[in-house]
C-alpha cells in the first residue's frame, strides 16, 4: 500500500510544488492548511509521516509538534519540518519539541525524496 503523507502548509504555491513532487514518486498526500486542521487530521487518519511548516495560521507548527509528540497515540509518527526559517534557534527548538528532521526551504525534489526514503525503508 502507498505511504500516506500529511502535508501541513498554508502557501498555495508551495502546496502545488510539494504535492507534485510527492505524487511523482507515488506517495498518497493529504493537505491541510492550518495547525488546528493538522491536529484533527492526524487523529482522524493517522498518517505514516507528517511534513510540517512552522508558520501556520491558528495553531503554529511548534505547537503542533508539541501536541503530537507529547501524545502517546501520535508520538511515533515521524514529523519532518519543512520551513523557510533557517536560524539555528528554530532548528533547535523544533528538535527539542521532538521533530524527527528539519529541512530548510528551498530544497530540491531529490533531497526530499532521499529524506523520505530514510523513514520508509
Amino acid at each position: 500500500m502507498n505511504k500516506r503523507i500529511l502535508l501541513v502548509e498554508d502557501e498555495k504555491n508551495v502546496i502545488l510544488g510539494v504535492r507534485t513532487c510527492l505524487d511523482a514518486v507515488g506517495y498518497e498526500v493529504e493537505i491541510v492548511e492550518d495547525g488546528q486542521e493538522a491536529l484533527d487530521a492526524v487523529h482522524r487518519q493517522h498518517p505514516d509521516l507528517i511534513l510540517l511548516d512552522l508558520l501556520l495560521p491558528k495553531v503554529d507548527g511548534f505547537e503542533v509538534l508539541k501536541v503530537l509528540k507529547s501524545d502517546e497515540a501520535t508520538n511515533s509518527i515521524p514529523i519532518i519540518v519543512l520551513s523557510a526559517k533557517a536560524e539555528e534557534e528554530d532548528r533547535q527548538r523544533a528538535a527539542d519539541l521532538g521533530a524527527d528532521n528539519y529541512m530548510t526551504k528551498p530544497f530540491k525534489p531529490q533531497e526530499l525524496w532521499d529524506l523520505l526514503k530514510q523513514y520508509f525503508s
Binding site: 504555491n13 508551495v14 510544488g17 507534485t20 511523482a24 523557510a84 526551504k105 528551498p106 530544497f107 525534489p109
Partner: protein, 395 residues
C-alpha cells in the same frame, strides 16, 4: 610658530599660569566644572584604588538611582551591579594605561525596570604626585546603536524568510520539469530551465550568505574554540557534497595524515568554511575534474587546503576575492555565478580563530585555497571581531 608657542603666548598675554591651569577661571561666571560634569550625557565615576566610588556626576546618580550620600565609598561594582567593571578597572591599574572599551569589545547590558541599556566603558587611570591614585570611569550609552543592529539583523532574517518560500515552489518546479517528470520539453526549453535552475541556486546561496554575514557582523554568534577532531570536521564538510560531486562527475578526495591532533576551533563555523571552499571548487570545476581536501600539520598549525582542477583565478583577482561583494570575471563557468560573500565570511571566521587564509592559482590549471587553524592546546576561547561579550545585570 608652532602650536605650543601659540598656546604659551595666549597664557602669557592673559597673565595666567599655564601649569596651574588657571584658565578655568575664564569660564563664564555661572559655569564651573561641576556644571559641566553634571550636564554630561554619560554617567561618570571616580574611584579610588579600592575601586570605591569617591565621586559621581548627576547622570550617574540618576541612572543608578544613587545619591552621593549612598554612593560615596561604595564599591563601584555594587553600585552599578556590573561585576565585570572590577576586572576592567584592575586591568587599567595593572597596565596604568587607559582602557577604551569599544562597543564591540565589551558592551554591557544593564536592565533597569523594563528597559535594557547598553554601555561602552572608558576607564582612565588618575595619578597623584606621580603615583597611581584611582580611575575615572565613563560610561557611554550605546543602546540606540544596539537597537539599530538588531533592526538590521531582523530585517535580513525577514527578507531571507520571504525569499525562501517562493524559491521552494520555483526550485521544485524547475527540477521536476528538467527531469521530464511533467512532460517533454524542447531542447531550448530545457536549456532555459537549466539557466533558471542555476540562477535559483545563486539566489539561494546569496540569501544563505547574507544571513551568515548579518549574524557575524551583529555579533550574535561567537567562535568558541573547542578541541575539534579533524577527521570529523573534514567528513562533516564533505558529506553533504559527496552526492552532488558524483552527479557532476567530479572526484572528491580527502587526504589526511594518519595521525592528526585536534584543532582549536568552533566546529560549525569551521565546517562552514570548508564546505564553502569545496562548494566553490565544485562550481568552477568541469566534469572529470578532481577536488582534493588535504590536511597537513606544520608545527603548531594545521593547514587545510582545497585543491581543484578548475579554470583558475587570474593573478590580478587573487587578492580581491576575499573582499565583500566581489566576483571575479573572466574565464568563469557559465551559471557558476555568485556574489563574493562566501570567501569574505570564510576569511572573517578563519581570522577569528587566529588563522590565515590564502589562495594559489594558475589560470587553466586549477586553484588551491589554504587556511590554517591552531592545534588545540588547552582551554581557550576565541572571540569573533564584532562580538559582544555581554554581561547582563538587573538593577
Amino acid at each position: 610658530m608652532n602650536r605650543r608657542k601659540i598656546i604659551d603666548q595666549f597664557y602669557n598675554s592673559e597673565g595666567l599660569d599655564r601649569k596651574a591651569g588657571v584658565i578655568l577661571n575664564k569660564l563664564p561666571a555661572p559655569v564651573n566644572l561641576d556644571t559641566i560634569a553634571d550636564n554630561l550625557a554619560d554617567p561618570v565615576f571616580i574611584v579610588d584604588l579600592k575601586k570605591n566610588v569617591v565621586w559621581l556626576n548627576k547622570k550617574a546618580e540618576d541612572f543608578f538611582d544613587a545619591g552621593f550620600k549612598q554612593a560615596g565609598g561604595k564599591p563601584i561594582a555594587d553600585l552599578t551591579s556590573i561585576k565585570k567593571i572590577d576586572e576592567l578597572i584592575n586591568d587599567v591599574f595593572e597596565k596604568k594605561t587607559s582602557l577604551k572599551c569599544s562597543y564591540e569589545e565589551a558592551s554591557i547590558k544593564v536592565k533597569r525596570l523594563d528597559e535594557r541599556f547598553f554601555f561602552k566603558i572608558a576607564i582612565n587611570p588618575v595619578f597623584h604626585q606621580g603615583e597611581l591614585w584611582g580611575a575615572l570611569v565613563q560610561m557611554t550609552d550605546v543602546t540606540r546603536f544596539h537597537e539599530m543592529e538588531k533592526i538590521k539583523t531582523d530585517f535580513v532574517s525577514i527578507v531571507s524568510h520571504e525569499f525562501r518560500t517562493p524559491l521552494t515552489t520555483i526550485i521544485v518546479g524547475v527540477e521536476m520539469l528538467k527531469e521530464g517528470m511533467l512532460g517533454d520539453l524542447t531542447p531550448r526549453g530545457k536549456e532555459v530551465l537549466e539557466a533558471i535552475g542555476s540562477d535559483c541556486e545563486r539566489l539561494n546561496r546569496l540569501i544563505d550568505n547574507l544571513m551568515e554575514l548579518s549574524r557575524i557582523e551583529s555579533g550574535t554568534i561567537y567562535v568558541e574554540a573547542e578541541p575539534v577532531d579533524v577527521t570529523d570536521l573534514v567528513q562533516e564538510a564533505v558529506r553533504p557534497l559527496k552526492l552532488q560531486a558524483e552527479r557532476q562527475g567530479i572526484e572528491l578526495i580527502t587526504d589526511l595524515p594518519p595521525e592528526v591532533p585536534p584543532v582549536a576551533a568552533d566546529f560549525n563555523k569551521s565546517v562552514w568554511v570548508l564546505t564553502n571552499l569545496i562548494g566553490n571548487a565544485m562550481r568552477y570545476t568541469d566534469p572529470g575534474g578532481t577536488i582534493t581536501v588535504r590536511v597537513r600539520q606544520r608545527g603548531k598549525k594545521l593547514f587545510f587546503s582545497v585543491e581543484d582542477t578548475g579554470c583558475g583565478i587570474p593573478k590580478e583577482h587573487q587578492e580581491k576575492i576575499f573582499r565583500k561583494y566581489v566576483q571575479v570575471s573572466g574565464p568563469v563557468r557559465k551559471g557558476a555565478g555568485g556574489v563574493g560573500l562566501g570567501l569574505a565570511i570564510a576569511k572573517d571566521i578563519v581570522m577569528a580563530h587566529g588563522g590565515e587564509i590564502w589562495v594559489d592559482s594558475e589560470v587553466g590549471k586549477g586553484t588551491v585555497f589554504t587556511f590554517t587553524f591552531p592545534v588545540y592546546k588547552n582551554k581557550e576561547a576565541v572571540t569573533l571581531p564584532g562580538t559582544d561579550q555581554d554581561e547582563e545585570v538587573d538593577l
